[in-house]
């Protein structure tokens, strides 16, 4: 039994001093720039968001065998995600219980044990301390190995093979945490059956606050301008961005989906097609397909997707974000993590998700599209980073930061409709509903002292006018 798991420290954030951090209100659609520049805000985010939330770790296919590990972060805590001899996936803080040294300095690999390079404390794949040099001679056997194992995450679980962990024992289950909107997001990656994550996670550093990277994923307004060079060279089809036909789904705790949609009329036509007919349509050359398929976007989701994603979710082809920082992108074929590295820096990671059923040729085509879209060399992503950096930088200017960001597009202009299934959505044009929702929920996370308070005070997914 590891008795030191999940401690609360005296400086974790409930101190009177930390409580004085002003958390802005976003109800008027104005975003106070302090949230991108105040170091107190950032410290509180680490405590009240990242140390509390279910954070994405990796996919099961990245660590298939006992002894396989992948290192990642929960906020600024480095963690080892490792498959044990028993086949279970565990998440362990990457810090030796002796002097705090990082046990594992690699991004991934395979091992039998984790041996500290400082004094040689040795831990098993389950985190148990299994040996310390000089136990008899120097410690005179006065050390209880059972009490000094690696600190495990409070909870680890997966949805469809995608592993998440939380450091907070008070967090709800992953299933409940995701809620309908989060689950629709993950299901959007699983419509073609089981998936694998391809070897190689792209990682790069952008000088921007992590939230500016996150809110951009809902921003279908910037595409025309930010990415105009990608359109000009023929890589990006602006028509497919569908600025006049957008759907937004808002989930409790801050999850959201925003972007293009399939209309009810189009979906009714799709519903009449068998899986085989859908596959045949998708296999046609572009021009022929365009004349015959109900929607331009391919692939058509299979019949079973409607049950998995719900009658509304299946019509959303936008971008889901699992709060706080996991973007499900590129038609469900990529995951982008936006990892905070201080208030003004973000590490962006791209995982590539591929259906196991894909042929070599389908995989090649998908890889090509993905490599050229995102990642630091992506024709789209190249131009995002600098905008985000400059937006972050300007939040440091004394005068500039007096002026809040305007996030008021379509504020009070749209209606949330409720489907008989219970799924809610807005059907509208380009808007900033999902961004506002993300910041509103962010504020609730930041004000609540613990999960109990957060669950009692969080906003329910809105209905009616927003």
């Amino acid at each position: 039994m590891l008795d030191h798991g999940n401690r609360t420290g005296p400086n974790d954030g409930a101190s009177a001093h930390e409580d004085e951090v002003p958390i802005p209100d976003f109800s008027d659609g104005l975003v106070d720039r302090s949230i991108y520049s105040d170091p107190r805000i950032y410290r509180r985010e680490l405590q009240r968001i990242f140390a509390r939330a279910w954070n994405f770790m990796c996919h099961e296919s990245q660590i298939p065998n006992p002894g396989d590990y992948f290192t990642t972060y929960i906020g600024e805590d480095q963690v080892i995600v490792v498959r044990g001899e028993d086949g279970l996936v565990r998440v362990l803080l990457n810090t030796c219980r002796h002097r705090g040294n990082a046990l594992c300095r690699a991004e991934l690999g395979h091992t039998k044990t984790f041996v500290c390079s400082y004094h040689g404390w040795t831990y098993g794949l389950d985190g148990a301390l299994i040996g310390i040099p000089g136990k008899k001679d120097f410690y005179r056997d006065d050390v209880d190995l059972g009490k000094w194992g690696l600190v495990p995450a409070a909870q680890v679980d997966h949805y469809g093979g995608f592993y998440f962990a939380t450091l907070d024992p008070g967090a709800p289950s992953l299933f409940d945490y995701l809620g309908d909107v989060g689950r629709v997001g993950i299901e959007s990656m699983l419509t073609q059956g089981e998936v694998v994550v391809l070897d190689g996670v792209q990682k790069n550093v952008i000088d921007c606050n992590w939230k500016i990277a996150v809110d951009n994923l809902f921003d279908w307004y910037h595409v025309k301008v930010s990415h105009s060079s990608a359109s000009r060279v023929g890589f990006l089809n602006q028509r497919m961005m569908m600025p006049m036909s957008q759907m937004v789904m808002l989930g409790e705790l801050g999850h959201a989906i925003g972007g293009p949609m399939i209309s009810q009329e189009q979906q009714a036509k799709i519903d009449l097609l068998s899986d085989e007919e859908r596959r045949t349509l998708d296999g046609l050359p572009d021009a022929e397909r365009a004349a015959r398929a109900p929607v331009e976007r391919r692939p058509l989701r299979p019949v079973a997707a409607k049950a998995a994603m719900g009658p509304v979710g299946v019509r959303s082809t936008g971008h889901p974000n699992i709060f706080p920082n996991l973007w499900i992108s590129t038609r469900g074929m990529q995951l982008s993590l936006r990892l905070p590295r201080g208030i003004g820096q973000t590490e962006v990671w791209w995982f590539t998700v591929m259906p196991k059923s894909f042929t070599a040729e389908q995989r090649r085509v998908a890889r090509k599209f993905i490599t050229h879209s995102f990642g630091p060399a992506g024709l789209l992503e190249q131009d995002d980073g600098e905008n985000w950096s400059q937006s972050t930088l300007s939040s440091r200017g004394v005068a500039s930061r007096r002026y809040p960001h305007n996030m008021r597009m379509a504020l009070g202009q749209d209606e949330v409709l409720v489907d008989p299934s219970g799924q809610k959505r807005v059907e509208t044009r380009v808007n900033e509903h999902a961004q506002r929702w993300t910041y509103k929920c962010w504020g609730e996370w930041m004000r609540a002292r613990d999960w109990q308070e957060l669950l009692a005070t969080r906003s329910v997914s809105p209905v009616g006018r927003i």
Binding site: G109, T352, R367, G375, A377, D383
Partner: protein
């Protein structure tokens, strides 16, 4: 090895020293000229040096332990930073020439330093080589990126020079400490 011993020479290169030196010179001058085209933002001319069958590739490199060095580079059928053919490079060049490629307007200032050029094989008019590169990029007033690494190129001799038909770029960073790769290598 005695002082009078002939240096071992690789059977994959011309046996004659003068011939090897001439080829080395010719290849180096080509690589310097090519680098100058990139630094002078003559991207269209640079594209002219790229063969139709180019494979332009920068794999993902990772920090791994000595025991796991076989995992250092992501597999060839996995993900990469660049995995381009000529049409892809043409798209990148056209993008660089568009005023609305915001990561390059104002334009970056780059310097491509190429050194440690080693010919690996010469066969049927094709030359395999390895070189060290140091790409310096100054961006806006205060942003600096530096990428150091190794390039493995394959050149094909054509009338009046060479064409590059393979360029594999291995950077010495794992997490890329830059906001983007809007530059070419």
């Amino acid at each position: 090895m005695s002082l009078t011993a002939q240096p071992q020479h690789d059977a994959r290169l011309p046996a004659d020293l003068a011939e090897r030196m001439a080829l080395q010179y010719e290849v180096e001058q080509f690589l310097y000229d090519e680098a100058a085209l990139l630094d002078d933002r003559r991207f269209g001319d640079w594209l002219g040096l790229i063969a139709d069958d180019i494979h332009y590739w920068m794999p993902i490199r990772r920090t791994v332990t000595v025991e796991n060095l076989h995992l250092e580079y992501a597999k060839a059928d996995g993900m990469a930073y660049f995995d381009d053919d000529r049409a892809d490079l043409r798209m990148r060049v056209e993008k660089l020439q568009a005023n609305s490629a915001w990561s390059e307007n104002p334009p970056s200032r780059t310097r491509h330093l190429v050194s440690n050029v080693r010919l690996l094989e010469v066969k049927d008019g094709e030359i395999a080589l390895e070189a060290a590169i140091h790409v310096y990029r100054s961006r806006l007033n205060d942003k600096i990126d530096q990428w150091i690494g190794k390039r493995r190129d394959r050149l094909r001799r054509v009338e009046g020079g060479f064409r590059i038909f393979e360029r594999h770029i291995f950077l010495d960073q794992t997490v890329v400490l830059s906001p983007n790769f809007s530059s070419l290598f």
